[in-house]
Symmetry: D2
Subunit: 426 residues, 4 copies
């Protein structure tokens, strides 16, 4: 009844599989464990990807890291960072042409991880520029838009922001109130009115990708707004200050009051939530990588602290079982998270990534990064309250990553719907 596998294997096993199996012999020599790459994910990356990762890591550690403490204290985002990233080719890196690097999704994930290892706020600014705005224009824009905006954005000369969320519509953007209608006085222009909030980069953005309902159809459409072209009083982008997290990124509102936007700056085809959701999917994919970067930094910091901090008879606290368990848990989740993000990156490039896969890794990696960062924070005892240890900043940031671009519970229900076929949003 059943086909014995021996025959399968004798006749059919590929040479790779066979030589792999023979490789078992080599197991005898003990293989060292690398706590920085616990499940050997580096074996899954191409040489190019590893080189890109190294470039990004070096830049982030050497140039970004020294700025972050003050930036976070003062809620101050240094715009030059985007330019520097542009010089290195890190912006919109998966895009082919238009001055972009055209790398794989895994390579772009590795860049994201490197950035968020420093700070989730920096990563947010980077994701908005690369995934949400450049990615949106590349996917939905006209060829003209691409040629006009992408090269400048790739260099970091032009900064973008992405306006979807509204004050009363967070998890449910379909109910948005921002409206576009033919401009009453300027021909060939739409007039946009409405308010967006919690918009990363908005106060300093040159280019605003704003989603609004077209009055005539009631359908959501995407508009690219150039700040320099907006008459006074039609566009305001006041910053939101006194944030609990992501303080190294700049956040604000977008207030549109009959703001004129050329018709040619509306995305030509995409209608409804498919447009913004596709952009968000790219950003969420990046968050799944980035938050593990932040967690890895927490592990590194907690490990170092636990080895240096001595309590009770001069033992490093790393010797205590309760501390070791925290490190083991966090390291495991980081290792699993990287494998899952890599897998989805590969499938993405093969056109096989379901959007629910991205919900899954966004949710899980954010959740686990947050939970473990909080637990590792305990290792620092009272010293955790000092911002110089950095871990408190990661904890505050990671909470925000859990809530934005799909709060964790919302992704649970997206997954639940995909698993059961039944809707539970009520």
């Amino acid at each position: 009844m059943f086909r014995p596998i021996c025959r399968l294997s004798t006749n059919q096993l590929s040479k790779t599989a066979r030589s792999a199996a023979i490789g078992i012999r080599r197991l005898h020599a003990p293989v060292p464990f690398d706590w920085k790459d616990p499940l050997g994910a580096n074996n899954l990356f191409t040489e190019d990807e590893l080189a890109i990762s190294e470039t990004a890591e070096s830049y982030c550690q050497e140039r970004m890291l020294p700025r972050v403490l003050e930036a976070y204290r003062n809620e101050d985002f240094d715009r030059k960072i985007i330019e520097e990233m542009g010089e290195l080719g890190l912006l919109g890196a998966t895009i082919q042409g238009y001055g972009c690097a055209g790398v794989s999704s895994v390579a772009s994930g590795l860049i994201t991880r490197a950035v968020e290892r420093v700070d989730s706020g920096y990563r947010s600014g980077y994701s908005v520029q690369s995934a949400l705005v450049m990615g949106g224009i590349e996917e939905f824009g006209t060829e003209e838009m691409k040629e006009k905006y992408l090269p400048g954005m790739a260099k970091g000369k032009m900064l973008g922001c992405f306006g979807l969320t509204e004050p009363n519509h967070g998890s449910d953007p379909g109910s948005m109130e921002t409206m576009a209608k033919p401009h009453p006085s300027k021909k060939g222009y739409y007039s946009l009115s409405g308010a967006k909030t919690w918009i990363t980069n908005s106060p300093i953005a040159d280019l605003l990708l704003v989603w609004a309902k077209l009055e005539s159809t009631g359908k959501i459409r995407g508009f690219v707004i150039e700040r320099s072209q907006c008459p006074p009083g039609t566009l305001e982008t006041p910053p939101i200050k006194n944030k609990n997290g992501l303080r190294a990124s700049i956040t604000g509102m977008i207030q549109l009051d009959e703001c004129p936007v050329p018709e040619s700056n509306m995305f030509p085809e995409v209608e409804g939530l498919r447009g913004p959701f596709s952009c968000l999917n790219s950003a969420r994919y990046g968050i799944a990588w980035g938050t593990i970067g932040a967690l890895e930094d927490c592990i590194d910091r907690a490990r170092t602290y636990s080895l240096e901090r001595k309590q009770f008879k001069g033992n490093p606290i790393a010797k205590y079982q309760l501390v070791q368990k925290k490190l083991a848990d966090a390291t495991t989740d980081a290792a699993y998270g990287i494998l899952a993000a890599t897998q989805v990156g590969r499938l993405k490039d093969e056109g096989k990534a379901a959007s629910e896969m991205i919900s899954m890794i966004k949710r899980q990696n954010c959740d686990r990064a947050l939970v473990n960062a909080r637990t590792l924070q305990e290792v620092f005892g009272g010293n955790a309250v000092s911002d110089e240890y950095g871990i408190g900043r990661h904890v505050s940031n990671l909470f925000v990553t859990q809530t934005y671009e799909g709060q964790s519970d919302i992704h649970s229900l997206i997954l639940g719907r995909a698993i059961t076929g039944v809707q539970a949003f009520c």
Copy 2:
């Protein structure tokens, strides 16, 4: 200072990565989500591996599953199962030659998953035969031993068990008390005395791989004991009954009272804990796969139940958010667990798997399978108490998998030591 990645990518990116990147285009068509393979792990398996998996799944669902309810109720292990698995080539499947299939570690993981999808007890019996005993003989035995024992074991004609744990030495086998010394009367024989406990298969095993301290050196050595050759009274293997879990596998003690074992049946070279630990590593690797199989069965059962069970206005309980969250959590952990096990399988075959990697996936997959199975059990409400829904059996089994072959906390401390370099066993 930093090397821009654009140049990297322009000049150096491999053709694969480039064509992969181009593949992004294909993303536009929505990709369906498969709750049975949420992160597309099937894309990582070769055709042969998929065929082997299918063979194993069919056999397990069609032949094993119908036996398990009664077996579990009555603590009754049907030895024929091992023979049937032998006929299909599933035993010792990674071994090259000696009548074994010589498949990859991932293929063997897929077999293990198929078996434990039915029952962890069946998987335990299978793991002992394949990983612990056949694997041990293949790795440490003389050529003579291999030729003598492996073909019969591969066919399932000869059943093995693995005697390491002693009544007073569970997590710390280095303190074992079983002793081997030159037999006082039989030349060319050792005499073994001592007791082993919690030994899967022992009451019905033909071949007992027993670890004992050689009196002359104090070093642990491995001995292959043939039951049929033992004089009456020198070997007893009483069963242990009334277990809380793994009731479909048979468990017992091994009591050795000056049991004579030919010198040629001692593993020739391996000394100390390296021997048994190497075998255990193979078994643990299998457990990491198997427990996810059990969890996947729990997901399947809970999902089906939640769709069929109606409460409050005729809604299926699958519609409730609290139910959906349980399913989303479990599905995520199962998907992540398979990716991690696959990765370690690949590294194993390439000789790159650190033993701590196996600790990590054994610990995490057991822990997560158990936690999620327990949560899913809640979906069944009061009906969970009926053994016909199967989920209670998985929950009880998975608790045992968490404690054996390295209790979860022990693996935490193994990982903690590997991460910090500091020992916390006290």
Copy 3:
């Protein structure tokens, strides 16, 4: 604006409060910690309550405990237990008169704790008799019913069961299908038809309190059925075997096929779900006490095991931080649980207990008992699989207590509704 508290205290503080405050002096002598009563709950009980508790504890430990292992293995409930409890006055103990003891709700909680310290199944049998059936008759029955049934039940001569749950209606009993209508042939009788399931005690009960919809009104009413009065074929109570938990209690169905019940055996006034819910509230109150008893037994067993079990250099495993944390967590939850149950007991007797309070302590004490029992089970390592250590039995039982009489999630939503005023059952 604000009234300084000095004046309050100088002029108004009661003598008790003042002398209490002076008592602070006595703090200096260190007070010993009792792990069996970590927060000194015994100070809250009257001397009578302590005496009742002691009686119950002695009986349970000396007479019940020796029976439980075999009873659980064989799914065998010894009916004599109810008679013995009757002799001691433990049945329906809060009822005044009718041969009942008339003790406080806290005293009855202490009895329940003592019983469940041995086994949740025994406690289930006890709760059904005392809280559900005797309590129901006392609260809703006619004086005639009380005089007829309560004295025999108090002695344990007559065993009761409580039929509410139906095969398709667990969490939502309002949809029940069991119907009562005037008996077509027997005057002065109702005819009941329908099926109840998961009914503790049903296979051996003499008296069945069954809830059914009165056909004429569509309202739920309560009926007391005497098995001895039912014509053959009108009442069947087949046992449900092969349970995963509560195996020391007997469970079954109730199948009614035009079963004649005298009109005088219908509760005269109570209509709708108020009747069964009031009974359930009493039972749930008892479960909140009982599950902590089970947890306390788990703590005791795990503590003893951890002190006796030596691993690694001869240290008792009690010395390991990961073990101590499990004990500390469980002990804390047990201590908190007793205080909460005591508080609700006191308020119950004062007529101040909201039903949501009972939802709260039922949910929390079941949840915490289960979670901690599972964690403590890990302390036993592989030995946990042997039923002689008892902890596996508690774990299996406690899962059932979490699901019955209001599954934990259902109580979450009851509480959520009470907190927010909004209904989320969908």
Copy 4:
């Protein structure tokens, strides 16, 4: 063999218990549930205690609350708060005489809860003044010290701080390095040298209670230092800025460089860690109350937000099961926490509170307050990042309360030791 409880109850039950039992009757009228006092803890407080609580709550809500947002943003502690509390008699409120209110420990717990409902930082400042410094002087000081310092401190005219923790000795104060020896030049004076860190109030304190080792004996002793009496250069108290939490309290170091302290300002009898630990116990007791106050405020804020925030078809998010579960969990833990704190307060006043009881409630209430506050923060979605919702501030604060005055893990091991009799600090 066993004494039936019927006889017990018939003959011996106290009148209270009996009338209590009769009270069951009154249960029939449904009792409303108060989500602000879910288990009716208010029934446990005397009228005076309730009045004191009300005074404190009014003051805190009306006078403290309006200051906290700016204080937290700017790390600015308004010293006047202590004076205002002094005017109301809230400082050192359990002390008899010396201008103090002499209230019960429960009353003082209620004050603490009211303060921390606003902010843990304000509560920290209050606890240091009341429990650590005033409590320390009252317990260990000479009559002369008490008369000199307590009245001014009670009025809030004199602010205290408590110097125990040193930069390298957090959880293990027994290893402190601060030394006291006879002053080389000032007769009748000790000379103190050393450094203390994370000292709440230190930069603005008038009175510093500092623990130091007496060089001659090596024993820890307590010294009361008046800042105004210290020669320039002998006492520095630089603030620690840029904290992650407790930003509304002021924190600093204490640097002593041959600081002269009169011999009469050393506590006369108490030696070793008993002194500071006794003070800490009082403070920890207060933390157990306070953190529940903070949690209650989180519940209140999350509940309000969930009722006002509409998503998906205009439903308030309070209608979603996942939101209701968060509220139910938090409310339960708050209710349990208050009962436990009340119980320990009563036992404290009766001289029956073991120090491990205080470890238990400090640990549990901090842990549960933190866990639930974090979960409730999710209810706010992206808006949680705005400090105006207040919940982020509580989350950051509560993390600190979990680590100070005995980090949670340390209390786990204190409890573990008390439960098992075995030490696990290594």
